[in-house]
Subunit: 391 residues, 2 copies
C-alpha cells in the first residue's frame, strides 16, 4: 500500500448554537484545508464526511453530496459516515484506504455537527440513540448516565474511594480548561479551579457539570494525498502510519471488560501494530474525553498508564506538557468542545498542528508522533489514528 499524507487541515471556531447550516460550516473548514494544501475544489477526487444527526437536527440526510456541490466540487463521490461521536474518524480512516490503495490521489475528509443548535435537553435525548434501542434506551439510559455508571464501576474495581476519584476527575477538567484557554478555536477559553468543578450542578452522580463536555457546533476538514502528490504540494506533510477500528454491542455484552473499553484496546493495538510502535512512542495524544472519567479510562486502554492509575498520573501532571504523555492540549472535548460528527477530524487537526510545530503556547516541543482516539457510543464505534511528521 502507498504512504498517505495529510497535506492540509481546517477547523471552524467551535461554538455554541450559531446560524450556519452544516453545509456552510463544513465549507468553512474545507476551504481552509484546501488553502493550506494549495489545492482548488476541482482537485478533490472524493469526499468522506462524518455526521451523526444532521437529519434530526436540521432535516438533512445525504449531506455530503450537498456539501461537495457547495464547495465547488460537484459530482465527486461523496459518502456520509455515522459512527456517533467517532463519525469523522472512521471517515478519515476510510479516506486513508482509498488513497493507500492507489485508487485516489487527493481526497477530502472531515466532519460537521450542529450539536449545540439542538439544545441540551433534546441533544441528550437524541444522542442517547447511540445506546442499544432494544434494552438500554427504554430504561432511560443517556450518556451522562452510562459514564456515571462507569465511574462507579471504576471506583469499585480499582478500590479508589469516590471522593478521591472525583478529585482526579476534576484534575482532567482543570487541565482541559487550561489548554482550552490557549486555543483560539476552543469553545471555552477560561481557566477553572477545583472549586469550579465541585460547585457546579450535579448532572448524574458522580459527574458534575464540569465533568461533562458541552454540545458544540463546528466542523473540521483534512486533505489526504498520496506521497507523490504530497511532495509536490507541501513541505510539511504528516503521514498516517497506523489506523485502527473496532465496535461493540450493548454495555451488558461488554461486562467482562468494563470499565475498560474493549473496542479501544483492540483498535489501538491494531494502530500500534500497523505503525510498528508502542504507546511509549506517542509524543502527543488527543483522546475522547466526553466526560472526565472517560479520559482516565482512555489513557489506560491506550496503554499509557496501568489500569486504575490514569487518574493518579493526571494528578501528577503526566498528561500535561512536560509529562509522560501530553493529552488533549487542544482543550479536548471538555473545553475545545464536542461537535459530535466533527470531533475526530478536529482531533486530527490538533495533532497535525502539533506535529508541524504550530501550536504556540500549547506546543509539545519536537513532537514527531501523535495519536487520536475517538469513541462512538460507549465503544460501539471506536477508531484510532497514528500520525507521524514527514521528511
Amino acid at each position: 500500500m502507498k504512504k498517505v499524507a495529510i497535506i492540509g487541515v481546517g477547523q471552524t471556531k467551535f461554538t455554541g448554537a450559531q446560524g450556519k447550516t452544516s453545509v456552510e460550516l463544513f465549507a468553512e473548514a474545507a476551504t481552509d484545508a484546501l488553502q493550506e494544501a494549495n489545492l482548488k475544489p476541482k482537485d478533490i477526487q472524493a469526499l468522506y464526511l462524518g455526521n451523526m444527526v444532521g437529519d434530526f437536527e436540521e432535516g438533512q440526510c445525504i449531506l455530503p453530496g450537498f456539501a461537495a456541490d457547495n464547495i465547488g466540487a460537484a459530482y465527486i463521490p461523496a459518502t456520509r459516515f455515522e459512527g456517533a461521536c467517532a463519525s469523522s474518524t472512521i471517515a478519515i480512516r476510510d479516506a486513508f484506504i482509498w488513497v493507500a490503495s492507489g485508487f485516489y490521489d487527493v481526497v477530502l475528509a472531515g466532519g460537521v455537527e450542529r450539536a449545540a443548535s439542538m439544545g441540551t435537553a433534546l441533544g441528550t435525548r437524541t444522542f442517547a440513540m447511540a445506546c442499544d434501542r432494544s434494552y438500554e434506551s427504554p430504561t432511560g439510559l443517556t450518556f451522562p448516565g452510562a459514564f456515571a455508571m462507569l465511574a462507579h464501576l471504576y471506583s469499585v474495581r480499582y478500590n479508589i474511594p469516590l471522593r478521591r476519584l472525583k478529585e482526579q476527575m476534576a484534575t482532567i477538567a482543570i487541565k482541559a480548561h487550561h489548554y482550552g484557554a490557549l486555543n483560539p478555536k476552543a469553545q471555552f477559553q477560561k481557566e477553572i479551579t477545583m472549586e469550579t468543578v465541585f460547585n457546579s450542578p450535579m448532572v448524574c452522580q458522580p459527574l458534575q457539570l464540569y465533568d461533562c463536555c458541552p454540545f458544540t457546533d463546528g466542523a473540521a476538514a483534512v486533505i489526504l494525498a498520496s506521497e507523490e502528490k504530497a511532495r509536490k504540494l507541501t513541505s510539511k506533510p504528516v503521514f498516517i502510519i497506523g489506523i485502527g477500528q473496532s465496535s461493540s454491542g450493548p454495555l451488558s455484552n461488554q461486562k467482562e471488560y468494563l470499565p475498560r473499553i474493549r473496542s479501544r484496546e483492540i483498535s489501538s493495538q491494531q494502530a500500534y501494530k500497523m505503525a510498528g510502535i508502542s504507546p511509549e512512542d506517542i509524543d502527543v495524544c488527543e483522546l475522547h474525553d466526553c466526560f472526565t472519567i472517560a479520559e482516565i479510562i482512555a489513557s489506560e486502554c491506550l496503554g499509557f498508564f496501568e489500569y486504575g492509575k490514569g487518574g493518579e498520573a493526571a494528578e501528577k501532571g503526566e498528561t500535561k506538557i512536560g509529562g509522560e504523555i501530553p493529552i488533549n492540549l487542544s482543550g479536548g472535548l471538555k473545553a475545545k468542545g464536542h461537535p459530535v460528527g466533527a470531533t475526530g477530524a478536529a482531533q486530527v487537526y490538533e495533532i497535525v498542528k502539533q506535529l508541524r510545530g504550530e501550536c504556540g503556547e500549547r506546543q509539545v516541543e519536537g513532537a514527531k508522533i501523535g495519536m487520536t482516539d475517538t469513541l462512538g457510543g460507549y465503544g460501539n464505534c471506536l477508531s484510532n489514528l497514528i500520525l507521524q511528521r514527514g521528511w
Copy 2:
C-alpha cells in the same frame, strides 16, 4: 489491486411493516450469506452497513456495532453508510476497496431498513430529508413531487405527449409486477394490467399509485473476499469488476442536465471504464426504479438506450428477458420492494443469483456480466457496480 469476489449473498423476504428490529433483520440476511460462503461469524473481518433512517424510525444510531455483536462478530470494525436509497451500494463499494487493497480478506456488507414500519405519511416526509434542506424541503418538495417534475420535464424535453409517456411508464410497472410475481422474496407477487395502473389513485400528477414503489421492511447482505479466499470457499464466485460513485447538489444546480441524472452518467462511466466494457456488454441490470419514470431515465443514463427512447424500448419488450437488456427481473423497487438502506445490497443479491444461474423462471440464460444502479435522493448519492461470473 486484488480481484474481489462475492462469495455469499442473503436477503430477507421483503415485506410491509413487521416486528423485527433492524439488528434482527440484518442478522437474518447475514446468516444466509455466511452459510452460502461456508463461513462462521468469527471469519468476518469487518462490516459495512447501509441504513438511512434507523435513528428516526426505531431510535438506533451507530447500528453496525450492535449488528456485528448480534451475529456473533463482536468487536470487528463496523461502519454505517448513509447515502439515502444508495446507502448499501456505497457500503459494498467501500467494502470492495478494503479487500482490493489487501487490507482485509473477508468482509460482510449490506443494508437494512424498516421503511414500511415508518408508515407511508411519515415515511414520505422523513425520506424527503434527502432533498436540500435550505431551499427545497421548505417548499414542501417530497420525492413523488420531484419525480413527477422530472416526468413533466421528460415529456417536454423529448416531445412525448404526457398520455403516451404515462403508457410507457405503465409498461414498466406491469413488467415489474410480472417478474415480482416470480420472485418469492418480493413484497408484491401479483400481476397487474394497464387498467390497474390507470385506475389507481393519483399520487402526484402524472404519477399514479402504481407508478410508485412501496415502503418496505427488509435487509440484504453480501460477503466479499479476496480471490485467494474465494478459491477456497466457493465454486461459484462473482467478481466485482467495476465500481462507480458520484454525487450532486440541489435539483436547481443540476438544471443544465435534467431530466438526465448527471451523477448517474458519471458514476456508470467510471464503472464501465474500470471494467473495460460498454453498456452493450451488460447481460442483466438491476436499476433504481423508485418511480416508473425513474427506470426510463436510468435506462438511458446508463447507456442502454438513446435519450428519450427508454420508454419506447420498454414498450417493445427490450427490457424483458429476451430483449436487448433485461432490467429489474427481481421485480425492482416497484414490486420486490424498497427497504431504502437495503435496496442496493438486494440489487447485488439478484445480480449474483442471475450470474450463478439460480433465478428459475426469471433467469437470463447464460448471463455473464450484470450491473446494479442505485440512486440516493435525485442523484445526490449515486453508485454503480458491475459484476462478472467467475472462472
